[in-house]
């Protein structure tokens, strides 16, 4: 069993909608988590990182961690076609989810 699990999607939303992405993790020792965005034929780029409690907001992006349920979420508000990419969650220890492909349609 992978230590970080993520639904691969694809997730298709209309422009302007809220995108909701989720991961689960199994290792209680994980405390820091990162979200990466990966465009086609590119390497992943760091979006944001968050500690294992509460929310962190950065512009249109909000990351949440629910330590009790071992659940990690990323929300993208007012989604744009340029947000179409694969989003990966990861632990500080370098365990990555499989990535969720997001398609934002104009």
């Amino acid at each position: 069993q992978k230590e970080v699990e993520q639904d691969p999607g694809p997730l298709s939303v209309p422009e302007g909608a809220i995108v909701s992405l989720n991961c689960t993790y199994s290792n209680s020792a994980f405390q820091y988590f990162m979200w990466y965005r990966q465009y086609s034929r590119k390497g992943p780029e760091l979006l944001m990182y968050t500690y294992s409690s509460g929310n962190k907001e950065d512009g249109r992006f909000t990351a949440q961690v629910d330590k009790s349920s071992k659940y990690i979420s990323l929300f993208i508000r007012d989604s744009q076609p340029s947000d179409s990419a694969t989003y990966l969650c990861a632990s500080l220890q370098g365990q990555f989810g499989a990535g969720t492909q997001v398609v934002v349609t104009p």
Partner: protein, 113 residues
Amino acid sequence: DVKVTQSSRYLVKRTGEKVFLECVQDMDHENMFWYRQDPGLGLRLIYFSYDVKMKEKGDIPEGYSVSREKKERFSLILESASTNQTSMYLCASSQDRANYGYTFGSGTRLTVV
């Protein structure tokens, strides 16, 4: 702009060949990593290094080796390429052991025929 540069975007090699994938970072980062990325499996750690001439096995080191002779350069070696090593290979670096986020290269798409 900080960068991790992988020497090749696309490679095609024959079964049994020895393959070298090169990665260079210009950020003076301590840590460097090699991952492979496959559909449905995500990123899997092959090897990593926290210092020059130091290397540690990741989750899937079999069939691979690495070399880090200089701080900025981390090479992945496929000793005898096999078709199941066809994959996207990603190199990454991070500043220190806290690892608050990696900087990735653009990847090398390796096809072994």
